[in-house]
């Protein structure tokens, strides 16, 4: 069993050469639509079958802003690798990897006594490399 907290996770974008100072990341969710198959003869409940194509999901990163970092490009197809913290007993940490592009970039606010933070939103494209989880080995 390899349960762990989120501390130690990292994310890199290998085409844009981005390695971010991440405070939190939300890996999003994959969702499969449902198709209603109920008829006038149905009883008790609506009936459903699984849809065909899943939504690959979006990932949101909240990061500390670095004045010297490269400008983030929207829409550039890239490969994201999220590396999980290496839990006890493991040699190679698990990863979430897939291709997609950045769809949203919210620059920092300027507030005294607060760090400058920015938010990045990533869309897995479901086109090149599907979002794939590889467990720790």
């Amino acid at each position: 069993m390899a349960i762990d907290t989120g501390l130690g996770a990292s994310a890199v974008f290998t085409t844009q050469n981005l390695s971010l100072k991440i405070v939190s990341m939300d890996i999003g969710e994959e969702t499969l639509p449902t198709v209603n198959t109920s008829t006038l003869a149905s009883t008790n409940f609506e009936s459903y079958i699984p849809g065909d194509l899943s939504e690959p999901g979006t990932v949101t990163f909240e990061c500390q802003f670095d004045n010297s970092a490269t400008q983030i490009a929207l829409g550039t197809v890239d490969t994201l690798t999220v590396t999980l913290p290496l839990s006890a007993g493991g040699a190679t940490a698990g990863t979430w990897s897939g291709t997609g592009f950045i769809t949203g970039y919210k620059p920092q606010n300027f507030v005294k006594n607060e760090l400058q933070m920015h938010t990045i939103t990533w869309q897995f494209d479901g086109n090149g490399t599907d979002p794939t989880f590889t467990p720790q080995a």
């Binding site: 974008f13 290998t14 050469n17 981005l18 390695s19 100072k21 590396t83 990897s97 490399t129 590889t134």
Partner: protein, 97 residues
């Protein structure tokens, strides 16, 4: 020891979603054009023809390790790689005071 290995992500069967294994019993790479940079077996970054992304900060990355990784990536992809590391913040003078 610094080494370049295949990116650890493993491809899965498009229908059954089972992890794929090749004829020699090795995992089929999900990202065949990417490499993991390992220091004594631990992944410290990733590399592709676009460059290197270290997943640890500059202060924890000895120059010799960085140089070895650059040289390995250079020989693998044939270009002088761009290098990115996790940015680290130095507290400003005002914040320290």
């Amino acid at each position: 020891m610094v080494e370049l290995t295949q990116h650890p992500a493993q491809a899965r069967h498009p229908v059954t979603n089972e992890p794929l294994i090749d004829d020699h019993g090795a995992p089929v790479p999900l990202l065949p054009t990417q490499r993991a940079i390992r220091l004594d077996g631990f992944v410290i970054g990733y590399a592709s023809k676009h460059g290197i992304c270290f997943t640890i900060g500059e202060s924890k990355l000895p120059q010799t390790v960085k140089d070895s990784a650059i040289s390995l990536v250079e020989s693998e992809f044939g270009t002088n790689p761009k290098v990115a590391t996790v940015p680290e913040f130095e507290p400003s003078r005002e914040a320290v005071e």
